[in-house]
Symmetry: C2
Subunit: 138 residues, 2 copies
DNA sequence: GCTTGACTTAGACATTGTCCATTGTAGGAT
DNA sequence: ATCCTACAATGGACAATGTCTAAGTCAAGC
């Protein structure tokens, strides 16, 4: 389970109670949490942890490539622990629920040179929007 | 040029000096402005226009389908006056510049039923990220 | 068990956006 | 042309999210 903590230790990441707690929260349910949700859960395990630390730690985990930032709506960024298998997202327009999806085909090859305007294209992000079964039946 | 204003009037949109100014700003350069940039330009034409009005008006134009909201970075929403031809976006990771692009293929057909999790998928948004020629040479 | 530099903290601050009570006005009715 | 009234605009407070800083704390190596 916690090979996340292993990997981090192996990289010389200084291990503190706070960082461990944040890593554990992300390593739990593979949900897409906002920074404040991560903070709320972290507080459950370590009451004195501060918001700034959670933000800092999340930022570091993103830099290390251990988690991904996802911005599906214009509200809070969400953090996706599933950084090691490329995927895209399917978002419910009503409740904001997110699922990881794996479309076929590669959108990068669908962008002809004539449409690149001299950019060096590095990455592509695909977000499907719709209504989840829960909201549809409500 | 201003068939935007024509269309709005035709829909019974109550025309005020403020709304006209916002529409004119959007109808000008087809750039992707943030709400506050729209406000800044609107103030140039109508100094007493308020921020709230600009936000309200942009929201209404989005509801009417006359402009699109684009969230490419996690900073401010941007507004895209080009709502009538489907397209996607290419964003510079450094300076945030946005270009409209038209990839080949349809990402919607690339999402198999088995990856839809019961969602009614309505829309897909593709964002390419890279470095623009300007930033690359700097 | 020291030392030290990295980590954490609390809270102020910044940015973006929303809400609300009040005031103003577009456009139809007279 | 003037009046009415519903809808729009105002501005300032508030909310949500995120960033920064100065001072205190601690993990890890010696």
């Amino acid at each position: 389970m916690s090979d996340l903590l292993e990997r981090l230790r192996g990289r010389g990441w200084r291990m503190t109670a706070q960082r461990r707690v944040v890593a554990e929260v992300l390593d739990g349910d593979h949900v897409h949490l906002t920074a404040d949700e991560v903070h709320a859960r972290a507080v459950g395990k370590l009451p004195e942890i501060s918001r700034a630390t959670v933000y800092n730690t999340l930022g570091e985990l993103v830099s290390l490539g251990e988690i991904l930032e996802v911005s599906t709506d214009r509200r809070a960024k969400r953090y996706d622990p599933n950084a090691h298998r490329p995927h895209h997202h399917l978002v419910c327009a009503q409740c904001g629920a997110i699922r990881d999806v794996h479309p076929t085909g590669d959108p990068l090859t669908d962008l002809p040179d004539s449409e690149r305007f001299g950019f060096t294209v590095q990455d592509v992000e695909v977000t499907y929007r719709g209504v989840c079964p829960n909201c549809a039946s409500a």
